[in-house]
């Protein structure tokens, strides 16, 4: 170690660096918030009804199942938001996938045994999501359309197409395997929760441990830096919107499985919830920061608020108010943290 005078990187770090505990606390803030919510509902449930909120496995499972769809959308949205973009089309891409998965399963059911028929349905649901995903990526990377506008356009296109394919109604599925995927249990845990958990692990790995994830962070911090480092930013952008659409497709397939019917409006209320989950989870809408585990916590926060308010008999419309307030608080915390962190 040399003398402090020659030690550039140590010289004035005190002026800019936040306390290390503050950084760690910020990363955990969604989980802390989740714990706070659970304690609040627990106290309320015990005081008002003499029952436990947290220690009920029925509640825990309901919340987990409830969180699945917004979480799936939020996982892809996390990548897009970290890269400095936004994907507004996910809700109706999910609806499109739900409807097409139902149609394809029904068509395959007439000529195939149930298991392969379900696989055909799943493949079709995931594949169709890639179309709007590819168009989003192309609009944004090639035609330089702002993500907000490009994906808003695709929101409309996917919505219209989904309703047209569903002929304005829901598309029931009678495939038993599909019903088991959506409502079955393995080791006592709902299969949709297990599937989502595995997918979460994969996305966590992809974001934190792969070059793709690393480049996603870099692009979100500085597109110029990424370009000058030789990263194919256009290709990365196209992959990000494909990934986001694929997540929405998985959400759509699992929706059809759970309700044994595809519906165009399957993901309609979930766009806001998914973006909220990402933001509550600590990602910045300016790009450059966010984590999968944070997004998981953010999704659980929303699910707990929504389920908990119903549980303690608050009028359901308060859910919207509560989620809205939490989003605003999260953004304020993010801004404060940025100031304290001395970021430019």
């Amino acid at each position: 170690m040399s003398a402090p005078s020659t030690s550039l990187l140590r010289a004035n770090r005190h002026s800019k660096a936040p306390h290390p505990w503050l950084v760690r606390l910020a990363a955990l803030r969604a989980w802390l918030f989740l714990a706070l919510l659970l304690v609040t509902f627990e106290v309320w449930a015990r005081a008002s009804y003499g029952v436990s909120f947290v220690l009920s496995s029925y509640n825990a499972q309901s919340i987990a199942v409830f969180a699945v769809a917004p979480l799936l959308l939020a996982l892809g949205e996390t990548f897009v938001i970290i890269a400095g973009g936004i994907d507004l089309s996910v809700g109706f891409v999910m609806g499109l996938s739900a409807v097409l998965a139902a149609h394809a399963t029904n068509a395959a059911d007439s000529s195939l045994p149930p298991l392969p028929a379900m696989l055909v349905g799943i493949a079709a649901g995931l594949a169709v999501a890639l179309v709007p995903g590819a168009i989003n990526g192309w609009l944004i990377s090639k035609l330089k359309v702002p993500p907000f506008i490009g994906t808003l356009g695709m929101f409309g296109v996917a919505r219209g197409t989904a309703f047209l394919l569903a002929k304005g109604t829901t598309v029931p599925v009678t495939n038993d395997w599909f019903a088991a995927l959506g409502n079955g249990r393995l080791l006592g845990i709902p299969v949709v929760v297990l599937v989502t958990a595995v997918f979460v692990l994969f996305m966590h790995y992809l974001l934190g441990q792969s070059r793709f994830g690393q480049h996603t962070y870099a692009v979100g911090a500085s597109e110029q830096a990424a370009l000058r480092a030789g990263i194919g930013v256009g290709r990365l952008t196209r992959r990000l919107y494909l990934l986001s659409a694929l997540c929405a497709g998985l959400g759509g397939v699992l929706y059809t499985a759970r309700f044994t019917a595809g519906a165009a409006q399957a993901g309609e209320p979930l766009l806001l919830d998914s973006i909220a989950a990402v933001v509550i989870g600590g990602a910045s809408l300016f790009g450059g920061s966010g984590t999968i585990l944070g997004t998981v916590a953010g999704s659980l926060v929303i699910a707990v608020i929504q389920y908990g308010l119903v549980f303690i008999d608050v009028e359901p419309f308060w859910q919207f108010v509560a989620v809205g307030v939490v989003i605003i608080i999260s953004v304020l915390v993010d801004q404060t943290q940025r100031k304290l962190g001395g970021e430019r």
Partner: protein, 253 residues
Amino acid sequence: MSAVPSPSSQPLLDVRGVYKRFGGVEALKGVSLELHPGEVVALAGDNGAGKSTLTKMISGVYPADDGEIRLDGQAVRFSTPEAARVAGIETIYQDLALADNLSIGANIFLGREPMRRAFGVLPVLDRRAMAQAAKETMSRLDFHVDRLEAPVGRFSGGQRQAVAIGRAMYWNARVILMDEPTAALGVPEQRKVLTLIRNLKAQGRGVIFISHNLQDIFAVSDRIVVLRRGSLAGERLIAQTTHDEVVKLMIGG
């Protein structure tokens, strides 16, 4: 104009009579410049003299309309900055081109991250290798980092400059181009960047640095090349010239 005796070694970089026109503007009208290993050449001149254009042609941003560029005696023609970088010519940009949210190691390896296999199968980023390389590279610049995982956005301007230079060094850049590296910095930070340049020189790399600050130029350069309206106004060994003479070359007359 007095010719400057060049060191006897073969020039690392040899720019011969490059010409560049932008529409009606002749940005460079046949400029030549040599850079030897372990040499710091200052590029000076008034605004619009052609300094940035010259460095951009060396670094592959624009092709030259005429003239040639030789690296180690071989004529080269870079179609992209990437190609120039691969050949060992690195530019340290004023805005630094760092990803503020990533660590020093992640910035050094950005776009070419080392991977390892977790549990023998799963490919994952080799963060330890990145941190180790960051530590070694930065200590070669005499900067000792104790927070290797901190994002570079938390560092000061001079520290970030060091990271950008560290990245160039790690990838074995032999020619380092710096366009006004001290312009955005406070005085203590400027000093540190000058120390960095001396360090690169001591490692045998060639540095071309653009500056408006004669103090800085005289502090670290071996030679100064002065451009005026796209032409070579003069070239001097720093040891044999004065501020006054350089200013006269810059403004002409």
